[in-house]
Symmetry: C2
Subunit: 303 residues, 2 copies
């Protein structure tokens, strides 16, 4: 099996290819391509008849969907799940920061207890889009004794969740929103999930619940969120992703007393390459052995 890493060469990924037992090759000769360091618009010149499989470097692939570069008769894999552990860790950090009002404390210059401190223990955590990140998060939540509610595409019960609804079940999603003390948005960005958390969804939430978005900014209606925060209709919001992104300087969400913005750092660059290299090695090994690849993209569904 011949694998090319590009458009930009990346030594760790190349080492992973070799460790898995494949041969590094030019783009012209490759059966498989490990995409690294280029916009999707450059894919056309790499898309040759012999190509069987393309490993993409990120978990979210909406720029690939938008570019039209994906085609159904070619196998694409994303890095979905690769970064689940580190993103889940960040998610838990944002949840605890919300529960313990750490953002308000970080901004304080006097010794005073903010309002609204609470405990994760005993709370209900609703995970919208409970895939790899959600599962890693549920593991991390186990010692806290929380109740987990989940929504995923299929509705297939998520281990550790008391209930799981399919994403098309609007009543189920509404029930999750209404019962959760922490609503964690972890679903892929698709046309179906665009502004999933809109004014109505925010109104369905408890008045002291925190919204945590570690998926994509497009899943939350930013204007509706600011309005809900200003009106005190929800407890707070911790967002690793925003719409627009980057959030423009001076945006009210930066300074809202019950908001915390982490600038798309759930999966810090310093931790990405080792995780991606492990995934590349595993997938090359699987491809050679004829086993199912991890992170298979459903081109029709767009993720």
């Amino acid at each position: 099996m011949k694998v090319h890493v590009g458009p930009v060469a990346q030594p760790e990924l190349e080492a992973a290819v070799v460790a898995a037992g494949a041969e590094l090759s030019s783009a012209e000769e490759a059966n498989a391509l490990v995409w690294f360091g280029g916009e999707p618009s450059r894919f056309g010149s790499y898309d040759r008849p012999d190509l069987e499989w393309v490993q993409l470097p990120s978990a979210g692939i909406e720029s690939w969907v938008a570019s039209g570069a994906l085609r159904e008769d070619l196998t694409f894999t994303s890095a979905a799940g690769t970064f689940a552990q580190t993103v889940a860790e960040h998610t838990l950090g944002l949840m605890l920061a919300g529960a313990r009002q750490l953002a308000a404390m970080a901004r304080a210059t006097t010794w005073q207890r903010p309002e609204g401190m609470r405990s994760l223990a005993g709370s209900t955590v609703g995970i919208i889009g409970a895939g790899g990140i959600g599962k890693a998060l549920i593991e991390m939540l186990r010692p806290f004794g929380v109740r987990v509610l989940a929504v995923n595409r299929s509705g297939k019960p998520v281990l550790g969740a008391e209930r799981t609804w399919p994403s098309e079940d609007a009543d189920g999603v509404r029930e999750l929103l209404a019962e959760s003390d922490f609503v964690v948005v972890a679903a892929p960005a698709t046309s179906a999930t665009s502004k999933l958390i809109d004014a109505a969804a925010l109104r369905a939430m408890k008045s002291d619940a925190w919204l945590i978005n570690i998926a994509r900014g497009s899943l939350v209606d930013t204007e509706a969120l600011v309005e809900a925060l200003d009106a005190g209709r929800i407890g707070g919001a911790a967002l690793d992703v925003t719409d627009p992104e980057p959030l423009p300087e001076g945006h009210p969400l930066f300074t809202h007393p019950r908001a915390l913005i982490s600038p798309h750092t759930a999966n810090p660059p310093s931790l990405q390459m080792p995780a991606l290299a492990r995934r590349v090695e595993e997938n090359v090994r699987r491809h050679i052995a004829g086993q199912p690849l991890l992170g298979l993209v459903d081109v029709a569904a767009g993720y």
Copy 2:
């Protein structure tokens, strides 16, 4: 068995006494006293010959030690361990806030990634004073795959810790400081632990390690800490307790880019009463049954 709750009556604690099968009584007639709402200096007028046991309302009892109100021929119990779970939760929140630079992000008004983001996963966590809080924290750290080092009074191995040193083993403490990415201070405040984290201890720490203090302010030399932070000798500090406490307005620790102050909120008042009531009920039950009480104070040791 006759129990008095006072100097201030507290309905939840009184209900706990009754639920455990004891009788509420005046202070004059009581065999046991559940202390609530008074300074230790007021204890003298409650200290009668018939008194067998006094349940104190907090985990840290240094004000009782300082007051001289404790006497060795009377059984005192503290609330030690009662709040372990909620304090451990706060501790994990502070650790994640440090790892993910959430304080810097909370203060930012533009979209920019701070330096020094890291992962809890794969790190070494050193717990100085690994009692009830430390054990609860170790449970919470399990899903992260961290290496735990511990110091406790006896040196008796702490479950889940790779190594445990007795607190008198200065070399062991030094080794913990030198190897930990997160140094968690959770030891009781005694004369032996005063300024345990001094300039030398801070110099022993890794240059990117975070110091987390959820014990008492007196365990950390504040001036030395500010100096170490300014010099970049440690990664950062998250403190739930300070010396002096409250920290005076405008103190540099409030605004230091790599410091986070939570104003003694690891165990928020809103969560204390239910936990204390559960402890009172359990201890009254044990006292009636002649079983060992929880949180027994070693009057000679002072905690």
